[in-house]
């Protein structure tokens, strides 16, 4: 009886923070501030430099077949919003040589990344947002409140061993990040606020 009661108490003691798939933040959370993160183009970026109406932070890792399967879609998405007040920022933070700046520079050039791609050695931005996968998206409005987090669309894709891209659910039908950005730019509430991001685990120092 005592064990059952304890079990029930544990079952109803829901975490105070965290969304459906995120252990740390929920929709509405503020964007964490960051300073002077080095970027692949040789510049540095601080959160206070971001002036656009919408900011999209996307966690990436060069080695990850899920990033490589879907960063083509990211590049297209960035292009779609050119000229609009939307800023995409890629963030890498794994402490692996094949995910650090030199590899990031090469990867960004090869894949035609036309967005700022920074490396966060401290891993603080990822920890603050509960980012645990690559790719994983966080969309913020002009008040820098989180309006969407999760996957780019509904058909996670990875590169197979031969290099071809495989969409696990066929052609994507719902473009979650695009919709969230469009709705936010229009001042409308985001309809789908959270999805499960699919990809490689981000490795944080213990």
């Amino acid at each position: 009886m005592k064990r059952t009661l304890i079990g029930l108490l544990m079952a109803v003691a829901l975490p105070a923070f965290g969304g459906q798939y995120n252990a740390v933040v929920d929709i509405g959370a503020p964007m964490p501030s960051f300073s002077n993160l080095p970027a692949t183009d040789g510049s540095t970026l601080s959160s206070k430099d971001l002036k656009d109406d919408v900011v999209v932070l996307v966690f990436l890792a060069c080695h990850c077949p899920w990033v490589n399967g879907m960063d083509g879609d990211l590049v297209k998405l960035v292009d779609e919003f050119k000229g609009k007040s939307v800023r995409f920022v890629g963030v890498a933070l794994n402490h692996r040589d094949d995910d650090r700046l030199p590899a990031m520079k090469e990867h960004a050039k090869k894949k035609g990344y036309d967005f700022t791609y920074v490396y966060d050695e401290s891993q603080a931005v990822g920890r603050a947002l509960g980012a645990t996968k690559t790719p994983e998206y966080f969309v913020f409005n002009k008040d820098r409140k989180l309006v969407y987090m999760g996957a780019i669309h509904d058909s996670p894709a990875h590169t197979a061993r031969g290099g071809e891209v495989i969409y696990t659910r066929g052609e994507p039908k719902t473009m979650y990040v695009r919709d969230a950005v469009v709705e936010t730019l229009a001042g409308k509430p985001v309809q789908v606020q959270e999805t499960r991001a699919q990809g490689c685990t981000l490795e944080y120092e213990k």
Binding site: Y21, A23, V24, H63, C64, P65, W66, R96, Q123, G126, R127, G130, A131, T132, K133, S155, P156, H158, A160, R161, I166, T168, R169, R196, A197, Q198, G199, C200, T201, L202, E203, Y204, K206
Partner: protein, 131 residues
């Protein structure tokens, strides 16, 4: 596996930390076998990808994975939904009665599980009073 504690190790060949910890998991499986614990590996590699099954099998053989090994039939997003999982590596531990008793994941960046967490969970479960 009836009457034994079962440790389900969820992994994939594309998952770098999964591959890194696989030998430690195999070593752990040998240490815990005499204590009534069975380790099982469950790969979330894409069955539909040509050559995927053989690739996983090759990996298991190279790592002398003499434990029950399984592969999900579903593609990753459907597998995650079915298992209510957000990422791999992950470890789910069932007691001798088949009830889930521990779920260790990397969902919290400030506490991604380690092998010590697996050992600690087994220490708690494998004592006679816990069963």
């Amino acid at each position: 596996m009836r009457g034994r504690i079962v440790v389900v190790d969820l992994w994939a060949t594309w998952c770098v930390p999964c591959v890194a910890r696989f030998p430690k998991m195999i070593a752990m499986s040998k240490r815990w076998r005499p204590k009534g614990v069975t380790f099982v590996s469950l790969s979330l590699d894409d069955r539909a990808e040509p050559g995927s099954y053989d690739h996983v099998l090759k990996f298991l053989k190279e790592h002398d994975a003499r434990i029950p090994n399984f592969m999900m039939n579903e593609v990753l997003p459907d597998a995650f939904d079915k298992l209510n999982l957000n990422s791999v590596p992950a470890v789910i531990i069932y007691d001798a009665g088949g009830r889930e008793r521990a779920r260790l994941t990397g969902d919290d960046p400030n506490h991604q599980f380690t092998e010590r967490d697996v050992e600690a969970a087994l220490d708690r479960l494998a004592t006679p009073s816990a069963r």
